[in-house]
Protein backbone atom coordinates (compact mmCIF):
# COMPACT_ATOMS: atom_id res chain seq x y z
CA UNK A 1 0.00 0.00 0.00
CA UNK A 2 1.22 3.48 -0.85
CA UNK A 3 0.86 6.49 1.36
CA UNK A 4 2.49 9.87 1.97
CA UNK A 5 4.66 10.46 4.98
CA UNK A 6 5.75 13.59 6.79
CA UNK A 7 9.50 12.91 6.48
CA UNK A 8 10.09 10.16 3.98
CA UNK A 9 8.00 11.12 1.00
CA UNK A 10 5.71 8.53 -0.46
CA UNK A 11 6.24 5.04 0.84
CA UNK A 12 5.05 1.63 0.02
CA UNK A 13 4.58 -0.76 2.89
CA UNK A 14 3.37 -4.30 3.18
CA UNK A 15 -0.05 -4.50 4.74
CA UNK A 16 1.39 -6.49 7.61
CA UNK A 17 3.66 -3.60 8.63
CA UNK A 18 0.68 -1.52 9.55
CA UNK A 19 -0.04 -1.44 13.26
CA UNK A 20 -3.55 -0.78 14.48
CA UNK A 21 -4.54 1.19 17.54
CA UNK A 22 -8.12 0.04 18.10
CA UNK A 23 -8.81 3.08 20.25
CA UNK A 24 -6.63 5.45 18.27
CA UNK A 25 -4.13 7.56 20.23
CA UNK A 26 -5.20 9.87 23.06
CA UNK A 27 -5.78 13.17 21.29
CA UNK A 28 -6.07 11.41 17.93
CA UNK A 29 -8.81 8.89 18.53
CA UNK A 30 -9.74 8.66 14.85
CA UNK A 31 -6.24 7.75 13.71
CA UNK A 32 -5.92 4.04 14.09
CA UNK A 33 -3.53 2.85 11.41
CA UNK A 34 0.17 3.66 11.72
CA UNK A 35 3.53 2.38 10.66
CA UNK A 36 6.79 2.63 12.57
CA UNK A 37 9.51 4.00 10.34
CA UNK A 38 13.20 4.24 10.83
CA UNK A 39 14.85 5.05 7.60
CA UNK A 40 18.36 5.05 8.98
CA UNK A 41 21.21 3.93 6.84
CA UNK A 42 23.66 3.46 9.65
CA UNK A 43 24.92 0.27 11.23
CA UNK A 44 24.69 1.62 14.74
CA UNK A 45 21.46 0.91 16.54
CA UNK A 46 19.44 4.13 16.53
CA UNK A 47 16.83 4.19 19.28
CA UNK A 48 14.54 6.68 17.51
CA UNK A 49 11.83 6.02 15.00
CA UNK A 50 8.73 7.69 13.62
CA UNK A 51 5.18 6.64 14.31
CA UNK A 52 3.57 7.73 11.07
CA UNK A 53 -0.17 7.84 10.56
CA UNK A 54 -1.31 6.07 7.42
CA UNK A 55 -4.48 8.17 7.24
CA UNK A 56 -2.96 11.60 7.92
CA UNK A 57 0.36 12.50 6.29
CA UNK A 58 1.06 15.25 8.76
CA UNK A 59 0.63 13.12 11.84
CA UNK A 60 3.98 11.68 12.83
CA UNK A 61 5.43 11.32 16.29
CA UNK A 62 8.96 10.48 17.31
CA UNK A 63 9.25 7.32 19.35
CA UNK A 64 12.15 5.86 21.20
CA UNK A 65 12.91 2.54 22.81
CA UNK A 66 12.73 3.63 26.43
CA UNK A 67 15.30 1.11 27.67
CA UNK A 68 18.10 3.00 25.93
CA UNK A 69 17.46 6.07 28.04
CA UNK A 70 16.33 4.17 31.13
CA UNK A 71 17.73 0.66 31.31
CA UNK A 72 15.78 0.00 34.48
CA UNK A 73 12.40 1.09 33.09
CA UNK A 74 9.96 -1.53 34.26
CA UNK A 75 6.21 -1.80 34.64
CA UNK A 76 3.38 -4.28 35.01
CA UNK A 77 0.83 -4.76 32.30
CA UNK A 78 -2.51 -6.27 33.28
CA UNK A 79 -3.03 -9.63 31.63
CA UNK A 80 -6.24 -8.36 30.15
CA UNK A 81 -4.36 -5.69 28.23
CA UNK A 82 -2.01 -8.30 26.82
CA UNK A 83 -5.07 -10.34 25.81
CA UNK A 84 -6.70 -7.29 24.28
CA UNK A 85 -3.68 -6.99 22.01
CA UNK A 86 -3.96 -10.73 21.44
CA UNK A 87 -0.37 -11.22 22.31
CA UNK A 88 0.49 -14.53 23.89
CA UNK A 89 2.93 -13.43 26.51
CA UNK A 90 4.13 -9.99 27.59
CA UNK A 91 7.42 -10.57 25.75
CA UNK A 92 5.54 -10.42 22.46
CA UNK A 93 5.03 -6.72 23.00
CA UNK A 94 7.29 -4.03 21.61
CA UNK A 95 7.54 -1.08 24.00
CA UNK A 96 8.00 2.49 22.79
CA UNK A 97 7.87 5.90 24.42
CA UNK A 98 6.62 9.07 22.71
CA UNK A 99 9.34 11.68 22.46
CA UNK A 100 8.58 15.35 22.84
CA UNK A 101 11.05 17.79 21.35
CA UNK A 102 10.37 21.47 21.76
CA UNK A 103 13.24 23.88 21.43
CA UNK A 104 16.52 22.09 21.95
CA UNK A 105 17.04 18.49 20.96
CA UNK A 106 19.10 18.13 24.10
CA UNK A 107 16.03 19.00 26.19
CA UNK A 108 13.84 16.29 24.74
CA UNK A 109 11.52 14.46 27.08
CA UNK A 110 9.95 11.05 26.85
CA UNK A 111 6.59 9.86 28.06
CA UNK A 112 7.29 6.96 30.37
CA UNK A 113 3.89 7.19 32.02
CA UNK A 114 2.02 6.03 28.91
CA UNK A 115 4.13 3.66 26.84
CA UNK A 116 3.03 2.47 23.45
CA UNK A 117 2.75 -1.29 23.38
CA UNK A 118 2.71 -3.16 20.07
CA UNK A 119 2.05 -6.85 19.65
CA UNK A 120 4.69 -8.24 17.35
CA UNK A 121 2.28 -11.02 16.38
CA UNK A 122 -1.03 -9.30 15.73
CA UNK A 123 0.28 -5.77 15.05
CA UNK A 124 -2.34 -4.40 17.45
CA UNK A 125 -1.18 -1.48 19.55
CA UNK A 126 -2.28 0.61 22.48
CA UNK A 127 -0.97 3.59 24.40
CA UNK A 128 -1.35 2.34 27.94
CA UNK A 129 -1.17 4.61 30.98
CA UNK A 130 0.63 2.99 33.88
CA UNK A 131 -1.20 2.84 37.15
CA UNK A 132 1.66 3.46 39.52
CA UNK A 133 2.54 7.10 39.00
CA UNK A 134 6.19 6.17 39.13
CA UNK A 135 7.03 7.87 35.87
CA UNK A 136 6.29 11.22 34.31
CA UNK A 137 4.84 12.05 30.91
CA UNK A 138 7.91 14.30 30.57
CA UNK A 139 10.94 12.38 31.70
CA UNK A 140 14.12 14.12 30.55
CA UNK A 141 15.82 11.98 27.96
CA UNK A 142 19.32 13.05 28.78
CA UNK A 143 19.55 11.92 32.34
CA UNK A 144 23.23 12.50 32.70
CA UNK A 145 23.93 10.50 29.50
Amino acid sequence: MHFDTAHFGQLEVQDHSVITFEDGLPGFENNKAFVILNNYDTDEPVPFMWLQSVEDTNLALVLTIPYFARPDYAFDIPEEVVKKLSANVPEDLGVYAVVNIQDQLSDMTINLASPILVSTKTRKAIQWTLEDNLYSVREPYANGN
Binding site: P26, F28, N39, Q102, Q127
Partner: protein, 74 residues
Protein backbone atom coordinates in the same frame (compact mmCIF):
# COMPACT_ATOMS: atom_id res chain seq x y z
CA UNK B 1 -23.94 14.93 30.33
CA UNK B 2 -26.05 12.47 32.29
CA UNK B 3 -26.47 13.73 35.85
CA UNK B 4 -27.36 11.37 38.68
CA UNK B 5 -27.34 11.88 42.40
CA UNK B 6 -26.01 9.07 44.54
CA UNK B 7 -25.59 8.68 48.28
CA UNK B 8 -22.61 7.09 49.96
CA UNK B 9 -22.27 3.40 49.04
CA UNK B 10 -24.57 3.72 46.09
CA UNK B 11 -23.29 2.85 42.64
CA UNK B 12 -23.80 3.32 38.97
CA UNK B 13 -23.12 0.72 36.30
CA UNK B 14 -21.81 1.69 32.91
CA UNK B 15 -22.01 -0.59 29.91
CA UNK B 16 -22.94 -3.62 32.03
CA UNK B 17 -19.42 -4.20 33.28
CA UNK B 18 -18.15 -1.00 34.84
CA UNK B 19 -19.33 -0.17 38.34
CA UNK B 20 -18.56 3.08 40.11
CA UNK B 21 -19.34 3.30 43.82
CA UNK B 22 -19.33 6.40 46.00
CA UNK B 23 -17.25 5.25 48.97
CA UNK B 24 -16.89 8.48 50.86
CA UNK B 25 -17.98 11.98 50.32
CA UNK B 26 -16.64 14.65 52.68
CA UNK B 27 -15.02 17.96 52.63
CA UNK B 28 -15.35 18.70 48.94
CA UNK B 29 -13.78 15.35 48.05
CA UNK B 30 -15.43 12.19 46.81
CA UNK B 31 -13.78 8.80 47.06
CA UNK B 32 -14.84 6.55 44.21
CA UNK B 33 -14.42 2.81 43.92
CA UNK B 34 -14.21 1.53 40.36
CA UNK B 35 -14.86 -2.05 39.38
CA UNK B 36 -14.06 -2.65 35.75
CA UNK B 37 -12.28 -5.20 33.59
CA UNK B 38 -8.55 -4.57 33.77
CA UNK B 39 -8.41 -3.80 30.08
CA UNK B 40 -10.72 -0.82 30.54
CA UNK B 41 -8.73 2.37 30.77
CA UNK B 42 -9.53 4.51 33.78
CA UNK B 43 -7.83 7.88 34.16
CA UNK B 44 -8.04 10.88 36.41
CA UNK B 45 -9.12 13.44 33.87
CA UNK B 46 -6.18 15.74 34.43
CA UNK B 47 -3.80 12.83 33.78
CA UNK B 48 -5.67 11.92 30.60
CA UNK B 49 -5.57 15.54 29.48
CA UNK B 50 -1.83 15.54 30.10
CA UNK B 51 -1.36 12.53 27.85
CA UNK B 52 -3.43 14.12 25.11
CA UNK B 53 -1.45 17.35 25.44
CA UNK B 54 1.83 15.48 25.36
CA UNK B 55 0.83 13.54 22.22
CA UNK B 56 -0.27 16.74 20.52
CA UNK B 57 2.94 18.52 21.42
CA UNK B 58 4.97 15.54 20.26
CA UNK B 59 3.12 15.46 16.95
CA UNK B 60 3.95 19.08 16.22
CA UNK B 61 7.65 18.81 17.04
CA UNK B 62 9.69 20.32 14.28
CA UNK B 63 12.50 17.84 14.12
CA UNK B 64 14.01 16.04 11.21
CA UNK B 65 15.38 12.57 10.94
CA UNK B 66 18.79 14.09 10.24
CA UNK B 67 18.77 15.97 13.52
CA UNK B 68 17.88 12.82 15.42
CA UNK B 69 20.60 10.83 13.71
CA UNK B 70 23.11 13.54 14.57
CA UNK B 71 22.10 13.30 18.20
CA UNK B 72 23.08 9.65 18.34
CA UNK B 73 26.44 10.09 16.67
CA UNK B 74 28.35 11.50 19.57
Amino acid sequence: MLILTRKRNESIIINDDIEITILESDDGKVKLGINAPKSVKVHRKEVFDQIIAENKAASSAKVTTEALKALIKK
